[in-house]
Symmetry: C2
Subunit: 339 residues, 2 copies
DNA sequence: TGTATAAATGTTATCGATATCAAAAGCAAG
DNA sequence: CTTGCTTTTGATATCGATAACATTTATACA
């Protein structure tokens, strides 16, 4: 069934319109010098044949692919979605498309994905996080295109960075707890070996506790493969069972906090009167829950916007102007009802 | 900066390894006849040069692109994410990649997107919904590849369909309301001109009301551009203000229901005692909210899975075997606390 | 009207891989 | 060591568009 009838090519259109295929090529682009009459003639021929440009040939011939690759950990995550949306919007004016890939929080999967993406010769690549396999790092370094690491500030950046310190960001929440006089503080996170951002948020917990001479034992690490709400429920159950006098808990994301808060309600524990619960990421659902979720806003959309701007700058650049290698966004605490 | 140093090509690898580029091409694929020793030699040369295959050239030369296009209305929507995930997983074994595009619930945007995607010569295309502009329909019909419409059962399908009747699905909820003895029933939806699935759910409301001789006036249509929770809050406010004796309301999605339920809580209205609220789509967050959200499960993942299977079948097909043009999934009511 | 300049169109070579066919090398059996 | 087969490798044409350059046609102005 498929490909039985071969699709029309530019030469077919040229034939029908009685011009050369080069003229067709020009007529189909917006800003080239083709007379109005021939352009109309060609447009008519193209419509008649149902001609659709083959960008594979086009990209191959012109040498530029017209798109930028971006990898994010998970498709179903409002935060990364915000980043991607702002990123796409920022690149749209430059006629650059976005090719998206999901690592599922696995560095091995990331390596595989990055290789796949590079094979398509993007004009730049954006990756989430600063933790990569050695080979992935090498691939990116040798790619010959701008590389931007986001959502993190790696110690040894590959190239450019648009991110923030997850460690410092999570400290905001713990300092907030402590300023309210709490001492028995806990943390619910995920598998730190897979998610370096989650790990840094946990380190922020440890640092702050240590700084104030408090115990950092009240932790629960849950399997949160498809980063979700259930683990928040099990996490808070486990913490409240082992340390019933816990006063405040920060969760590695708002989705976890959502699971934890709603589970508290089911257990008859009042949030925030009995225990305070903080989230991370300023997801929309946290704003509407009762109690609304106190959280850390990391400026997800801003990251995407900045990354897009940087890419536009780097691509238009003739290699002279030096732009900042590292752009930091400023996480802020959003005080709401839950903590 | 970019492209300054040209990336190595297959010919470079061939040179270094002392073979022809054709042999390199073969060695880099898994199942071709190349002797073990030369394959190792070539692999070594490729690694040394940091060679990465240029799929643009590869696809162009071989004539197949190796990917399938899919359009969905919104990136940040758990339901469509589920469909896409199942779809990707289903195609992964066939070495088919997925190229994703977002229509933002606009048919004009869809037309533009479909054209963009077709330019890249996918091997098949999946679109969400059965409402298209005339030109978009034409583009799809002339594309020469399998087309699958999903999440809907159009009256005049373009080619293949994997979907369900949104009308019948929403009737499940209204019949559920009525079976509980309710008569004063409402609906919160969005802009029907943009979202045909939402419109069909609304029609399901009207049909059921009419069938039982009830009024279908209690409706609120909200602007829900980035399909979200706030509109649920305003929607329920407006309905409860105008018709305070409303007994049950269905929302066009769980996200809207979430906004509506939490707003009720803030207004001191008890759900489900004072008013019952139903959602649509079986989103994860509805399962954990107190009260948990009664909803319609449309089998989002199943749609993706079926679509993938159909594509594999159609692509491997020699054009003989006739497969069903229309595959329907069976929406079910998930009875929880809110209704 | 002729010359200078700009605009419109055509010609040819090319991007990097693979399909296809041809040739060489390896191998088994007599 | 020769014949006949399989396996491995190579040479060449080709996919469809565009870059770069060449040429023709239109336009302006003296």
């Amino acid at each position: 069934m498929r490909n039985k009838t071969k699709l029309p090519t530019m030469a077919d259109v040229a034939n029908l319109a009685g011009v050369s295929s080069m003229t067709v090529s020009r007529a189909l682009k917006p800003d080239t010098s083709v007379s109005k009459s021939t352009r109309e003639k060609i447009q008519k021929a193209a419509d008649e044949l149902g001609y659709v440009l083959d960008t594979r040939a086009s990209e191959f011939s012109s040498g530029k692919s017209g798109f930028v690759a971006i990898t994010i950990p998970s498709i179903n995550n409002g935060n990364f979605a915000d980043t991607v949306k702002a990123f796409s919007d920022g690149l749209a004016e430059q006629d650059l498309q976005v090719l998206l890939g999901y690592t599922n929080y696995h560095v091995d999967r990331e390596e595989q994905l990055v290789e796949q993406l590079l094979k398509k010769r993007p004009e730049a690549i954006v990756v989430t996080g600063g933790m990569h396999t050695d080979r992935c790092r090498l691939l990116l370094e040798n790619s010959g295109i701008p590389v931007i690491e986001t959502w993190d500030v790696p110690e040894q950046p590959i190239d450019h960075v648009v991110g923030f310190s997850n460690l410092q960001a999570s400290e905001l929440m713990f300092e907030h707890f402590i300023a309210q006089g709490h001492k028995k503080i806990g943390f619910i996170g995920g598998d730190n070996s897979r998610d370096s951002r989650g790990r840094d948020r946990y380190l922020g917990f440890c640092n702050t506790m240590e700084k104030h001479g408090l115990s950092s034992e009240r932790v629960s690490f849950q399997e949160l493969a498809p980063f979700s709400m259930e683990p928040g429920a099990s996490g808070i159950r486990s913490i409240m069972k082992e340390w019933p006098d816990t006063e405040a808990v920060m969760c590695v994301s708002d989705l976890i906090a959502y699971g934890a808060i709603t589970e508290c309600q089911r257990m008859g524990i009042n949030v925030p009167d009995d225990v305070k619960i903080g989230g991370f990421g300023a997801y929309e659902l946290g704003q509407f829950l009762n109690p609304s979720i106190t959280t850390i806003d990391v400026g997800a959309a801003q990251i995407g916007k900045f990354a897009a701007e940087k890419i536009i700058e780097l691509l238009s650049d003739d290699g002279n102007t030096k732009s900042a290698k590292i752009v930091k966004t400023e996480p802020t605490l959003i005080k709401r009802q839950s903590a």
